[in-house]
Amino acid sequence: MSNNALVKKRYAAERRFKAYGLAAIGVTTAFLLFLILDIAIKAMPTFFVHEATLTVNVDPALIDAANPVAGDYLGLTKKALAAQFPDVTSRGDRKALNGILSAGAADGLQQRVLADPSLIGKDVTVPVALNSGADLYLKGYATAQLSDRQKAWLDALLEKGVISKGFAWNFLLNGDSREPELAGIKGALIGSVLTIIVTLALALPLGVAAALYLEEFAPKNWLTDVIEININNLAAVPSIIFGLLGLAVFLNIFGVPRSTPLVGGLVLALLVLPTIIIASRAALKSVPPSIKEAALGVGASHQQAVFHHVLPLAIPGILTGTILGVARALGETAPLLMIGMIAFIVDVPKGFTDAATVLPVQVFLWSDLPEQAFQSRTAATIILLLLVLFAFNALAIYLRKRFERRW
């Protein structure tokens, strides 16, 4: 073969390799786009919601001023809806008409009246939640929940301008609920935040202290080697194992309350601890030895050299490792199964020992419910979870760029 032909062959090989590379990137991007688009389209119905605005007469006969909590607010709301359709009189028809309302239709009214008891006896104009089937119909989706008459009533209300479309604040401001139109992610979001605070408060100092000792102070002997190998292996242990460990140790031996962010955070701290130790050691190792040696040379003690010079320079690497570890913890469900955080919890947690659930668990729970509207809530929660993870990764990149030093 001539020299020229060989060169041509090498160029061809290079072109082929580039084409393979491009194809690989193309396929990955296509998968990702398809996935995100699919989720985004499914999530759409969740972000907007139809509400009826009705003027309700707060009848003092039904709402006792002495005990306004026990009042029949739903009854008042149903009356206000019936007033829109004076020709609907039979009991069965009235029941069908009320069927377009949410079980929580009167929640807004109740809050208004409880906050301001002087409203009793007056007319109040409030937004009234429709049930998820009615909402889906108004958004143009097929639904088996409504009869043709109910659809006609909804069309009539829409024509009268009683029904309007708005941003679904319920989704962001409510805890979990069995009614899709009332279910929100606030409880899971706060649960996630509380859990991650416990995880960080425990895993960061422990991880950094362990890494510092192993990297800078530990004698080099077989015991240190065994510990090192074990930490590396621990990073690859399936997460469910940590859940079982948490059940056996934290719940059964120490009696930490079940389903709480405290026990969830403890388990997740164990999960991310190896990751943080490995990342921190790598960061400490990457600090040039000349810096430490210079400090030792001017008379600093070993500890001073490490704490004054090595650790500050390793912080960007440690932070990046920690944030990536925490991002992993944020997406875990399996270890939480064992410690009772896969649960229906309506009340938004107020502290570390209140029952709580977390975002990925909320995705898991909603994806398994039969109501159509929960499918779109699942997708919307996935988007929110992705955004949170995205923010965490962006923070890691920012910190690295901000504090990075070159030698």
């Binding site: 609920s177 425990l202 229906f344 398994d368 499918q375």
Partner: protein, 345 residues
């Protein structure tokens, strides 16, 4: 650093004192979960007490937690898609959980469904057994590996389609119920297997409990929504799941008739559709009085506005009990009648 470590240890100490529980805790079946959560929410709204925490652990996992003991660290209720087993009842008794109240709350139908565009079919339990069992009897009654590939090989009246059934994995309570309600009965329809049941009950159990693994039965995971989506995409496949999913996706999928009866609200309720199972909640009577709201919660569950024909649980897909059984359940709830050993099988 020292300050941080300090904060962590302070946190650990703050958490250790025993907590006084003022919130009901419920564990158990994922099938009963959608109903119990609805009741829990209504209970929270109506009474102003803390809304109970409902965990989805599966029936067996639920009983394990429930039977661990009496006290605020142990759950107050367990949801179950089958009755408590003798072994579970004994574990309970051993751990001091002696006063258990069993309340039947309704039925759940199991459906064999297909895409709405697929042809209508009418299966017998025997045909389903022949399609899905690992081993079936041949003409002489000898057990052979399942030879059927097409539905019309089993019976000419069935469509000429490949056998492809999507269903739950062995860990699921739905699968347990399916094999007991359909496969066992289907197997009993063969004379040779009926004889086997008398001679060697263990071997017989092995026959009806073993589902074929050559690809005709696809384990589609615990998530019923997933099966529904796959059916829409593939009109040749059948799926096995709970009745509430059929109802919610009406128009997209339809239920096959079994022994001539199509699954519907009415046919499951009056027991003419045979593939249905009762659902239960179990209450720990020893917690009544210590954990606030136990009696009120049970009263809410068995009330007409929840469990009744027009109640909100019916809207969620629970099939209500016939009037006499509903009355009996309400009585049990009111008097908190405890379960005795002779009633447990």
């Amino acid at each position: 650093m020292t300050r941080l470590l300090f904060a962590v240890s302070a946190l650990a100490i703050a958490a250790s004192p025993a907590f006084a529980r003022d919130q009901i805790r419920i564990v158990g079946s994922s099938t009963v979960y959608p109903f119990t959560t609805a009741v829990a929410e209504a209970f929270g709204k109506a009474t102003g007490m803390k809304t109970p925490v409902v965990e989805s652990t599966g029936t067996g996992g639920g009983f394990k937690l429930f039977c661990e003991g009496v006290g605020e660290n142990f759950p107050d209720f367990s949801n179950a898609s089958r009755a408590i087993k003798k072994s579970e009842f004994e574990t309970c008794a051993k751990n001091g959980v002696t006063d258990i109240v069993e309340i039947k709350v309704g039925f759940d139908g199991l459906t064999v469904a297909s895409a709405a565009s697929a042809p209508d079919v009418n299966f017998t339990k025997q045909q389903i057994f022949m399609a899905l069992a690992k081993q079936v009897p041949d003409k002489d009654g000898k057990l052979v590996d399942n030879p059927y590939k097409m539905w019309n090989e089993i019976d000419p009246s069935l469509p000429a389609q490949k056998i492809e059934v999507l269903g739950p994995p062995p860990t699921s309570g739905t699968r347990d119920s399916f094999v007991e309600l359909v496969m066992e009965k289907g197997a009993e329809a063969f004379d040779s297997l009926k004889a086997m049941k008398k001679e060697d009950a263990k071997a017989f159990e092995g026959v009806w409990k073993s589902i074929r693994t050559d690809g005709a039965y696809v384990e589609a995971g615990e998530n019923d929504n997933l099966i529904v989506q796959k059916l829409e995409a593939n009109p040749n496949a059948y799926g096995i799941f709970g009745f509430s999913f059929l109802e919610e996706n009406e128009g997209k999928i339809k239920g096959a008739k079994i022994e001539g009866v199509a699954p519907s609200f009415e046919t499951v309720s009056d027991a003419s559709y045979k593939v249905a199972r009762p659902l239960f909640i179990y209450a720990k009577k020893q917690h009544v009085g210590t954990v606030p709201g136990m009696a009120e919660f049970v009263a809410e569950y068995t009330s007409g506005k929840a469990m009744g024909d027009e109640g909100y649980l019916a809207d969620k897909g629970l099939i209500p009990l016939p009037a006499d059984q509903a009355g009996a359940a309400a009585d049990v709830a009111k008097n908190m009648t405890t379960l005795t050993a002779d009633k447990v099988m």
